[in-house]
């Protein structure tokens, strides 16, 4: 509970060492702050903990008994005791890395991360990924799906099928007009699996069934600078609105325009 508006500091034990930590903080963040290494793939500050990647599994010690729990789902409280590097944790983590190496055989991020923990090859059959829109890199952590629906409110992509047949894409693998082209999905993807490109006129979400979003061109320099739909979406939420004369300018032209106006330099 906050005391005088500040978070209460409590004592926790990690790998037999004692530390001070903020009560209620997500333990994974505490560990990161304390430079205690815990691998993880599906945690994103902007979203609630989801617990799907299972890589941040640690052991919680209660009354002498240990229980495997993902670090992103543990809240710090006084007397919390955690072990992050027991043989048990390492054993299971290594198997999980092997599963990831088989699931996303083309992902350099996974390869590097696994190698960092000593896992360089997998004993499991690798997925065949020759026509995968996510390039054989997707680990189905769900971040793209969640950021699209929970942060952007768009819900342009979602999980399709279930179990081992789960994939992420647009409904019916068709061009999805709901997509605003914000590319937040690509931004949060931990394995850089999502590809898009900006052409002269459009942003093409290659991974999402070629969903195409027209770009807005700058009213000053005529260069495309942001997806039209996204700009309209953002502008509709602003109150007060951006002044008419700079509303449809790219950030660069807008800066130039404002500074020249302030300095009373004639605008050309």
């Amino acid at each position: 509970m906050p005391v005088n508006g500040r978070k209460r500091m409590v004592t926790i034990t990690i790998n037999k060492n004692q530390y001070l930590a903020e009560e209620g903080e997500i333990f994974l963040l505490t560990a990161m702050r304390l430079k205690i290494d815990i691998p993880h793939l599906c945690y994103e500050k902007a979203l609630d903990p989801y617990g799907s990647c299972r890589l941040c599994m640690v052991e919680v010690v209660t009354c002498g008994k240990t229980e495997m729990t993902p670090a992103c789902t543990i809240k710090v409280h006084n007397g919390l005791e955690i072990l992050t590097d027991t043989p048990e944790v390492i054993k299971h983590r290594n198997i999980l890395f092997e599963l990831y190496l088989a699931e996303a055989p083309k992902s350099e991020v996974i390869k590097e991360m696994a190698a960092k923990y000593g896992v360089t090859k997998t004993r499991f059959l690798k997925k065949i990924v020759h026509d995968d829109p996510l390039l054989g890199k997707c680990i189905l952590c769900g971040l793209c799906v969640r950021v699209c629906s929970e942060i952007m409110g768009t819900c342009a992509i979602n999980f399709i099928n279930r179990g081992p047949f789960t994939v992420v894409n647009t409904p019916f693998y068709e061009h999805n007009p709901d997509c605003a082209g914000c590319a937040a999905c690509a931004r949060v993807c931990p394995t850089n699996a999502i590809v898009f490109e900006d052409t002269e006129k459009d942003r093409v979400m290659r991974s999402w069934s070629g969903t195409t979003v027209p770009m807005m061109t700058c009213s000053s320099c005529n260069k495309p600078f942001a997806p039209e739909k996204l700009m309209h979406e953002i502008q509709s939420r602003l109150d007060p609105q951006i002044n008419e004369d700079i509303r449809n300018m790219c950030p660069e032209c807008r800066r130039r325009y404002i500074s020249r106006r302030e300095m009373k330099i004639p605008i050309t």
Binding site: R54, T73, E88, H92, L96, F124, R162
Partner: protein, 560 residues
């Protein structure tokens, strides 16, 4: 008519009793899913026509299932003043004779399975009478003799589509007692003292869950019945709902009163159309008698139940996935805490109990916690219904006190292997459970003992395997089931089970090596320890137990 007082309820009971013992011959045809599957409905229709045309003096009703699936269709014949006789394997062609003999106060001897002189409905008792000396007594049939019927007390004996018959056997009296004469806290205390544990498999004390829900902050709460029974080979809940739906509704009504909740939900899988139909009928009847709805029993207490159907995903039996499914979202589990009791359906505190847990509640209130806890074993009170299936002689629905040994269930009640074959193992708890070899059959069936041998109670499926069953193949079947039902959210379950299946396929094709065996074991342990929900955490149990108890069968599969 609304029941508003003890007198109203008593007159309803008398009316119900007259339906059960109408003073003229009454014939009941077993029409649960199992009975219908072997022609029960055709038999009922045939009888209905004959009776309409020629014998209007006979009362014909549909009943539920008495549990002896092997002997279905089962017909009960009740002659006033005489024992109730159960006829078995009745064919439509027998209809004419059964009816004409019943008119003469007789039954066809060669179809008779057994007779019942009197019956303890727990909430009340019935005396049928004597006679029929040539027919074996109910207690002389080993399948019945070793059972103790508390939950299944009415199943197969009353008409599940008529609330009056349920009231006739003392039904809704416990609810009346609780609502009109007990404080809600006292009801919870009674359930706590009874030691009733969750029958969905985890075994969490029901009374404590109720207490947590009651104390949870928030005005609007839900109670939910989990009727998403999906284990292969398990159909206890289906039978309970098809044969005696009011027992479930009454349990929920008492629970709602105790927890101060006004909205109830039954989450039932769409694959149970008959159970859904009978529940809807039961709900309508209960509402028309004022046992659900506003101002129940004139007490000022409001409560109603709605039905939510699932779309057939096994994982939706998991509490958080179930909640998501009811909310209209994809049935994927989420991390816990928060538990449902804190943040459940639509964010409201929710108490979720299995069908059978609810079904135990009326008898606890009727007979008291001490009576209930005298049945079963210490820490494992009461009875449990099992569906005894697979390669066992007597296939059926079995209710025994907790703590009964597997030997009793499989050999005394089940009469050992089908067609005289040797029993090798039994799978308890469906895809979440493990296979127990016959040498461990003295294991008492309770939550802890089953865990100790590597399996679990689960919801109550018992699949018997005989000498012809290949245990690796059994393990493969269950992994294939679990992998197909995995929601795909976390990697150990989604990818791990897939690779377990691939390795098992390789082994069974005779192309496996010792390395494969070791990898299978390692992977199983990781899936068990790191999966997000119960589905993944328990899915490797069939593999791990068969590898532990039937190692030689795996070794035989290895490449020479």
């Amino acid at each position: 008519m609304k029941i508003q007082s003890a007198r109203d309820l008593e007159s309803a009971r008398r009316e119900g009793l007259i339906k059960i013992q109408p003073g003229r011959p009454r014939i009941g045809v077993g029409t649960s899913s199992c009975g219908i599957a072997v022609g029960g409905m055709a038999l009922y229709e045939r009888m209905k026509k004959i009776i309409q045309d020629e014998y209007p003096d006979i009362s014909l009703v549909k009943t539920g299932c008495i549990g002896f699936c092997k002997e279905e269709p089962i017909v009960s014949v009740s002659i006033p003043g005489k024992s109730l006789v159960l006829l078995h394997k009745v064919q439509p062609d027998d209809a004419e004779r059964i009816i004409s003999l019943a008119m003469e106060g007789r039954v066809p001897q060669e179809l008779a399975l057994c007779k019942i002189q009197d019956w303890d409905h727990i909430t009340g008792s019935l005396v049928h009478g004597g006679g029929f000396d040539g027919i074996k007594d109910y207690d002389e049939i080993p399948f019945f003799a070793n059972q103790k019927k508390i939950i299944l007390r009415n199943c197969g004996l009353i008409n599940p589509e008529d609330i009056m018959e349920y009231i006739g056997t003392g039904g809704y009296f416990p609810a009346f007692k609780a609502i009109t004469s007990m404080e809600p806290e006292a009801v919870i205390e009674e359930v706590k003292r009874s030691g009733l544990r969750g029958r969905g498999g985890a075994g969490f004390p029901a009374g404590i869950k109720w207490e947590i829900t009651k104390k949870a902050s928030g005005e609007e709460k839900y109670i939910v019945c989990n009727a998403d029974e999906g284990d292969p080979g398990a159909y206890m809940n289906r039978n309970e709902m098809e044969s005696d739906p009011h027992m479930l509704l009454e349990g929920m009504l008492i629970g709602a009163y105790a927890m101060g909740v006004h909205e109830g939900l039954i989450y039932i899988r769409a694959e149970y159309p008959l159970a859904i139909e009978r529940l809807i009928t039961a709900l309508d009847q209960a509402r028309s008698l004022g046992l659900l709805g506003k101002n129940i029993l004139n007490s000022g207490f409001d409560f109603d139940i709605q039905i939510a159907t699932g779309a057939g995903a096994f994982v939706c039996g998991e509490s958080t996935a179930l909640a998501a499914s009811i909310e209209g979202k994809t049935g994927r589990p989420r991390i816990r805490p928060p538990r449902l009791t804190e943040k459940g359906i639509f964010g409201r505190p929710t108490d979720l109990n299995n069908v059978e847990t609810w079904c135990n509640v009326p008898v606890i209130i009727a007979k008291g916690a001490s009576w209930f806890s005298s049945v079963g074993a210490k820490g494992n009170t009461g009875t449990k219904v099992f569906s005894l299936v697979g390669k066992v002689d007597n296939v059926g629905m079995v209710e025994v006190p907790l703590g009964t040994s597997l030997n009793t269930i499989i050999f005394d009640i089940g009469n050992g292997g089908a067609q005289g074959r040797r029993v090798k193992a039994v799978q308890t708890g469906g895809p979440s459970g493990g296979c127990i070899p016959v040498r461990l059959f003295d294991t008492p069936v309770d939550y802890e003992s089953l865990n100790k041998v590597g399996t679990m109670m689960g919801s109550g499926g018992l699949v018997v395997m005989d000498e012809d069953t290949n245990m690796a193949d059994i393990a493969r079947y269950f992994i294939s089931f679990a992998s197909g039902e995995s929601c795909g959210k976390c990697v150990p379950c989604r990818e791990g089970l897939k690779h377990m299946l691939l390795i098992l396929n390789r082994l069974i094709a005779g192309k496996g090596t010792v390395k494969d065996l070791n990898l299978l074991k390692e992977l199983s342990e990781t899936v068990q320890k790191t999966s997000l929900c119960g589905l993944g955490q328990t899915a490797p149990n069939p593999v791990l137990t068969t590898m532990q108890y039937f190692k030689e069968e795996y070794d035989e599969l290895l490449e020479a």
